[in-house]
């Protein structure tokens, strides 16, 4: 059996009107986004099940740094190491 590693985990994100994250809820605790370090987009596999993601490297109020992305086809947010 093959189990993919580093699968995306759904996460609650509050974003502004431009889709930039303002706060992330991790283990039921809100952490404010202090800085967006990097933003990039991935579009792939449009010929079968389209993958369109906008990734953000975020610096949070507890000094941690995480990577999240928004699935642009469904609108949901996920956390994933890149």
């Amino acid at each position: 059996m093959v189990t993919p590693l580093n699968t995306p985990r759904e996460v609650r994100v509050a974003a502004d009107q431009h889709g930039n994250p303002l706060a992330v809820s991790i283990r039921n605790r809100q952490r404010r986004v202090v800085r967006i370090r990097n933003v990039w987009r991935i579009d792939d596999e449009w010929w079968r099940q389209e993958i369109a993601r906008r990734y953000f490297d975020l610096e949070l109020s507890d000094a941690s740094v995480i990577t999240v992305f928004q699935d642009l086809t469904a609108g949901k947010w996920y956390r994933q190491r890149y």
Partner: protein, 400 residues
Amino acid sequence: MQTLCLFIPHLPVQWERRKHPELARAALIVGGFPYERTAVLDCSEEAAVQGVSPGMPLRQASHRCPGAVFLPADEAGCAGASGEVLGLLDRFSPAVEPDGPGRAFIDISGTEQLFGPAGDLAGQVSRLILRQAGFQSRIGVAGSKFVAGIAASLASAGPLIVEGGRERPFLAPLSIEFLPLAPEATAWLKRLGLRTMGQVAGLPLNALDSQLGRDGLMAHRLANGIDQRPVTPGPGPDTLAETLSFEQPLGSLEALLTALGRLLGRLTPRLRSRYQVCHQIRLCLRSGDGRAWPHTLNLKTPSDSRPGMLGILKRHLEAASFPEGVSEIHLVLAGLHGESGRQAPLSTGTKGLQAEALQRLNSGLRERFGRNPLKRVVEIDSGSRIPERRVALVDPDAGG
């Protein structure tokens, strides 16, 4: 007994402003974002004058003060700041009792020889808290914890000192809301027309005893300024701190790291002597004009290693810039706890031995659990732009 009560008003707001000096004059509301169904934890004076108060729903607060900056509550940060303040109070007396976030009692009996009269000592405490922790504080001094606590909450810029024997007249005009009673008991006293502690103090003891029992007796004693509870020192502060000041501000990262190395050189032996590891590093860099850059770093693996922590600080500071130079470094090791265990390497570095060790582990686990919970990490498509397509776990017996 002479007791000093230190009270840091609006600790959540002061803590956020310490982290973000640019918010010094902003209307600030702490507790969450306006769309959340929670309440205001604390707010700045700028928000309070527009009708915002703690306990109010955040949505309502955003209507009353639309220009306010909303921030989620940072309980861990505030607790850490309280611990830091407790660590500073240790310098004045060995008997320091924490009393919730931003509040502490100190037994200052017999400290006149060291620090002078109570007023001088209060001034020293408040200046130290402002300089080292960056918090404005209020101080009350009295012969008991109850009166000192109320004095601190009523104090303004200077300390409020209630001289011995003046407790009862000091308390008399104050509201019964100050008495530590259940809301029902306070409501009952109000229904009887009792509004001030002076009125409660003048009641016959039997009347309060028959109506409120032990709480009534306690209220009567406190309203008369009688409180014999001693200051009970809490557990030692969960932090270790050191400060270095420089006449010439440090301008380069190398100089900063050398200074941090010196501070860690003092702190880590103390940490090891307690058989503890540290979970969090708090760093406050101060420029010559008093501006502060606080940083909090949570360690993935708790550590007592000087090089390890210095490496983490280096990586963090490389991205920062300090154009005005650094004239003071305050370094705190926090989240201290005993080292309960450390992940040992799964096997030795030698290839043959590694395979043999894994084989042994494999059969041991299979024997114990009936199946092998170990998996092998294999590369699927290491260059994929989609992270979950790069590596996967497979059964160790599978080929490939």
